[in-house]
Symmetry: C2
Subunit: 234 residues, 2 copies
Amino acid sequence: MTSTTSDTGQKQAIVLLSGGLDSSLSAALAKEQGFAINALTIDYNQRHRRELDAARAVAQSLGAERHIILPLDLSQFGGSALTADIDVPKGGVAEEGIPITYVPARNLVFLSLTLAWAEVVGANDIFIGVNALDYSGYPDCRPEFIASFEETARLATREGQEGEGFRIQAPLQYWDKARIVSEALRVGLDLSLTWSCYDPQPDGTPCGLCDSCRLRAKGFAEAGALDPVASSAA
Amino acid sequence: MTSTTSDTGQKQAIVLLSGGLDSSLSAALAKEQGFAINALTIDYNQRHRRELDAARAVAQSLGAERHIILPLDLSQFGGSALTADIDVPKGGVAEEGIPITYVPARNLVFLSLTLAWAEVVGANDIFIGVNALDYSGYPDCRPEFIASFEETARLATREGQEGEGFRIQAPLQYWDKARIVSEALRVGLDLSLTWSCYDPQPDGTPCGLCDSCRLRAKGFAEAGALDPVASSAA
């Protein structure tokens, strides 16, 4: 199989889009590289459901060709603060170890699902917004995992066996949050549409205290930029 | 983490259980090896929904500790005769190539989901019923794929990084359908509960003509056994 192109002659990419800062930038970079965007958002019954609205808004603002929000109720398995009835930690980003907000095998599950769609759409490029900061805590954000997955994907699929296979593109892999914010501003991503907080407040604002809020705030501060999404703790 | 054990002191295993002959035998073999069975069935909006009832019946007959039927609507992606509006081939098992009944990246997606549950349950053993016959057509049934997935799983998960990791057990890997039927009879699996047909008839009987029916019939014939699930084409 050769890559299919869209009506406008663009090559297709599947982009994992959570609606957060990182995956939204990853989508914007795919667009910048000339890909037609097929955005995949997994509705895994996450506590921070505000993410799904953010994903819709970002996909629309980037002119995505298709956007699928796929329900997948990982809370049936339990085991993570993002899906089960466990409190989201607010005490600051842990120095070491795997955080309780780790969702078992999440990126493996999500990347596997992108392949199922990629084979149908005819996309050979998969974009995922993993980065060096997550690297410190989540095993499935590390370059070794991405490389291994690429090889498994080659062996698992028709396209991997009969075609050119898949490239897992993780453009943010080695960037810190300051670089991510700077790149987002450079490509003109509308940051007001993105959502990072794990535990939104009743008034609809970010908590400002969870790991994700803290990392985002640090990124904006170090990039010398103002976050258009105001936090209630700011 | 060390493996958790059930109330009865058994080690936990996750078993992918479709309700077909192969996965049901895989579950029975896990039980024979002394594992407590956590059966995972994926409701991927398959045409042959009779499978789900079979999975329930088999899980119950084997005394499974837990059984999760997880909805995952792969038909949103399309592209397979098992999920999209494409006719299931009835002309005989193809000699070569990947069949249209191939579901893009299915085993990769399903195995990834078993890991998400395994990390929570504390299981280090995952059972999957892939075998040598599927090997001929589906890329994600081959030993190379299983081995590569095991390595990716090690890199993707907390348990892989901090614990003993995962063993992907594919006990039927090198068996033909005759051996599979014989082993099923040996371990006392109730074959009347299993379901293989991709395209059940309106009267609730197997079509007898799809690849899955043909392979099953061949297995019973070669094993010199009678299939308790009667086909309308018999």
